[in-house]
């Protein structure tokens, strides 16, 4: 296929380059956006269509040990959502935890070309990379879970921060991760070692000898990652997810970062007021206000969408609490020395107070945000709902009338405890291009993604312009990945693997002498067999740290 193309007559939305719906030619050569191409370039007429950079998902769960456990757990969720093969593409199955091939093709169908797997235990990194090779079309990367790592906790406790920094960099290199992820920092030890309890306060002492707090852990990581200049800051799932009154913990977590960069994951789940054990109320305004005023903070929303979901989290105690509500099947999977994990099928229901409030808080956060570059669209797929619900979410943001119709069907008491009914704002296509493309790319430090300027990767989506935005964003007419047409006239035309993004911060090898004895004592695999070697990366690119 010719890699030289000219797309003409389309309305271009490219916020990074301040292009807001103007008719503009886009030229592609050798997988990149270029200034101009020869006259014999293939021409695509995008009249009546909208051109955007390929979508970038900053937070989802699509590959690795926990996703695969979820697939094995829920055959019934996939039986009626089949994904047939075409002569060019592989088959698969869907549901809220699609098979690898289905996940890649479905992201592409929505116009997404990059997605980041947001939680991988270090020992699971090799498995994730194996699945990435089978996740077609999209580029991907993952965040490595280090917030409950016992070796690192020991260094924090002993105030050996020099070695802590080296060890963090070693772990990121050993796993080929994109950044560091903290999930309910400090909570694992309570769960595994203290009869399934949890930490409930950011300053509560935890760990094997009950002497470090989540705040100390958060602080150590924020400092280290900022010092080492990762393109994306620590990605933080705060303590107390889902509990009434947790917005205090969220504010305290952001304050702990001071003016250093930090990303708060699925912030909707962390914006609840009220008293523990009682129904929550919305604190979206307080959270949005803090984020608005602090340009060092980015976040993704983790919107709840009604219907089926799969709870899948390294926050094992939370999954256990939810199991108490669903009373159905449940998976817990502990990883030695470094992580926990809980999984269960879940349904968000309109008539329930809690679920409606969660839905409303997510929307409030979007609508109260003053800087769309820093509040990014996500459902924490599949926790708040599938990424396949993104088109509907976009419609909710762009169409106030639709929002009000939807509000008629939900729990009315919950609507009284939030400001959603009063919010009139409607997102524009330009803003949608920010929260789904330009914003996440910027937050990730992926300079060749999320825009259509010269030198950008030619990851391009072309949608038919329609009044119904859900329909419009459900199937892209064309999708180009690295300059190659993957989808043309809604049909797959070829297949491709996509590449893996990771970082390689430098460290002093001497740290291995400190790590090795710990591994020999407490891990069940050999130290030399733990790091992931390059052959698992296939196509990959290292993004520079500062």
């Amino acid at each position: 296929m010719s890699a030289t193309m000219r797309i003409v007559n389309g309305q271009v939305y490219d916020p990074k380059n301040n292009i807001n719906g103007e008719i503009k030619e886009i030229c592609i050569q050798d997988g990149k956006i270029v200034d101009a191409v020869d006259d014999d370039a293939t021409i695509i007429d995008a009249k009546g269509m909208v051109i955007m950079p390929g979508g970038v998902d900053i937070h989802c769960h699509i590959a690795g040990p926990k996703v695969n456990l979820a697939r094995k757990l829920t055959p019934e969720a996939r039986r009626h959502d089949v994904h047939p093969s075409t002569p060019f593409t592989r088959s698969g199955s869907g549901g809220t935890t699609p098979s690898t091939f289905a996940a890649g093709y479905r992201y592409a169908t929505l116009g997404y070309t990059t997605a980041m797997e947001a939680a991988v235990s270090p020992i699971g990194a090799r498995h994730v990379l194996e699945e990435f090779e089978d996740t077609p079309i999209i580029d991907k990367g993952f965040y490595v879970l280090l917030g409950n790592n016992i070796f690192l906790h020991n260094l924090i406790r002993e105030k050996r921060f020099e070695e802590f920094e080296q060890a963090v960099a070693w772990w990121v290199n050993a796993t080929k991760a994109y950044t560091v992820k903290l999930v309910n920092p400090g909570g694992d030890e309570a769960w595994k070692g203290k009869k399934n309890s949890n930490v409930t306060d950011i300053d509560e002492k935890t760990g094997p000898s009950s002497d470090i707090s989540p705040r100390q852990i958060i602080e150590a990581f924020v400092k280290t990652v900022n010092k080492q200049g990762y393109p994306h800051p620590p990605h933080i799932h705060c303590n107390n997810l889902g509990h009434s009154g947790n917005y205090i913990t969220t504010l305290e977590t952001m304050k702990t970062a001071g003016d250093l960069r930090a990303h708060i994951a699925h912030i909707q789940f962390h914006s609840y007021g009220g008293v523990v054990g009682k129904n929550p109320i919305s604190k979206a305004a307080e959270i949005a206000d803090y984020v608005n005023k602090h340009p060092n903070i980015t976040c993704d929303v983790g919107q709840v969408m009604f219907g089926e979901s799969t709870i899948m989290t390294a926050d094992a105690p939370l999954a256990y609490v939810l199991k108490g509500h669903t009373k159905g099947k449940w998976v817990n999977a502990d990883t030695e020395c470094e992580s926990g994990c809980g999984i269960l099928p879940f349904v968000y229901q309109e008539h329930l107070y809690m679920h409606t409030l969660q839905w409303a808080i997510g929307l409030e956060l979007f609508l109260l945000s003053e800087d769309p570059w820093r509040i990014i669209l996500s459902t924490d797929h599949p926790n708040g709902g599938s990424f396949m619900a993104y088109p509907k979410l976009i419609k909710l943001l762009m169409d106030e009338k639709f929002r009000h119709e939807e509000m008629k069907r939900v729990n009315q008491k919950a609507l009284l405890k939030c400001s959603l009914p009063e919010l009139k704002r409607e997102y524009t296509l330009y803003e949608i291009a920010i929260i789904t493309r330009a914003g996440p790319a910027k937050a990730l430090g992926l300079e060749t993604k999320g825009h259509l300027g010269v030198g950008a990767d030619a990851d391009i989506t072309i949608y038919d312009l329609m009044d119904d935005k859900e329909m419009m964003f459900s199937t892209a007419r064309y999708v180009f990945k690295s300059g190659e047409p993957m989808i043309a006239n809604h049909e797959f035309t070829t297949d491709s693997k996509g590449k893996v993004y990771h970082i390689a911060p430098t460290y002093d090898n001497k740290i291995e002498e400190v790590l090795k004895p710990f591994f020999e004592d407490f891990y069940s695999i050999e130290f030399s067999n733990y790091p992931v070697d390059d052959h698992y990366l296939h196509q990959h690119e290292i993004i520079k740290t500062r």
């Binding site: 094995k72 757990l73 089949v82 088959s91 698969g92 690898t100 020992i123 194996e130 009869k195 020395c337």
Partner: protein
Amino acid sequence: MTEQKSNKKTEEQNKNIKIVKDATCTFCGCVCDDMELHVDLDEKRIIKAKNACVLGRAWFAEHTIEDAPAALIDGKEVSVEEAVEEAAQTLVKAKFPITYGLSDTTSEAQKQAVAITDYIKGNIDTTTSVCHGPSGLAFQGVGESTSTLGEVKNRADLVIYWGGNPAESHPRHFGRYAVTPKGMFTPNGKKDRTIVLVDVRKTKSAGVADILIRPKPGKDFEVLWALRALVKGISISTDIEKETGVPLEVLTDLVERMKNCRFGVLFFGMGLTMTRGRHFNSGALLALATDLNEYTHFVAKPVRGHGNVTGADNVVSWQTGYPFGVNFSRGYPRFNPGEFTTVDTLSNGDADAAMIIASDPGSNFPKKAIEHLKNIPVVVLDTKSTDTTKLAHVAFKTATYGINTGGTVYRMDDVSIPLRPAFESPFPDDETILKAIKKRVHELILKKNDSRGASGEAKVAAAVNPL
């Protein structure tokens, strides 16, 4: 004794010996990755496998290079290329081709096998369907509280083995993971743990047990159900002893231990999954472990057999969404054990061609299934000659994973481990052969499509409007 040893030393010194450290034994699901292999490069064999158990030592010793053809069609020697062509043609021609085996090869090879089956719209199944398939079904029903083996070593103070004999089937399970090792919160090893063995037979494993429980054969489910009841505070009649052979006091005592331990683990084997009750047994055990989390931290774990059967489960799951017994005849995966499991597709006479990878159904399947296998064209990949290779239409002799080739293996707890090959084999590995078959199969299928004008280029051309 000493003399013998020193003799051996000089022997080693005179030879062209390579030492491979941290190599991995793939013989059983323990997947021990601490092997130190001494390789005689001249004779192409492993002369010593330090740290291996008796099964592992035998595994490493028996894999020498035989002088044999790399490929056969109907018993006649052919080139690998000819065999690949014949295999691809055979599979594409078939209406109900089946793929089976996969537990003794790398996950890299397993990926290729699923891809081929997807392209030919066939049926794929692994040896899971004849060993821990019931555990997979139980998992789908109730879930599982589980952990990696290192967590057992670090934390477990109550270890229960149910329906297995690891001393003989997984000899290092006790020493490396669950009984004797010293861990973070178990600094005194076995002294910090209580070991319970539940088995209808008295096996070699009984030696490690602090408590031995022997239910009547076929009564595992009843015992598990009584334990669940007791955990929930429901009283049980003393008749339970007549029914199951286990006195009520023994059960009550076990329940107290389970509720009061700090970190408990239930390992279970085929003695539970393949006897009367099958997936109800596994389901009851998984549910028991789940229930106990109300009181303390409790996990359960099937003790899986073959080296990479866990990898097979994982690869088939991530590519199709289902762990085994998957059929692609409608162009997408469907899961139905009992219909799409290999004993059934063969015994019912559905399959009209088969590709068998690293497995020997020709010797261990029911007679009816083997009879059918004899009547259809079979493509076989194996490292050695077996009953199945003997009935093959196309047979490939391949290199042994972990001995001659690298790649990835999943331990029984889903932890992936890289392989470090010891010496080269003249035979290609499974992944290489399967990749070649896949490429050819896909070409043949695209050709069929091209003749109908549905190529990718045609689609792009149609979608592009020349101005």
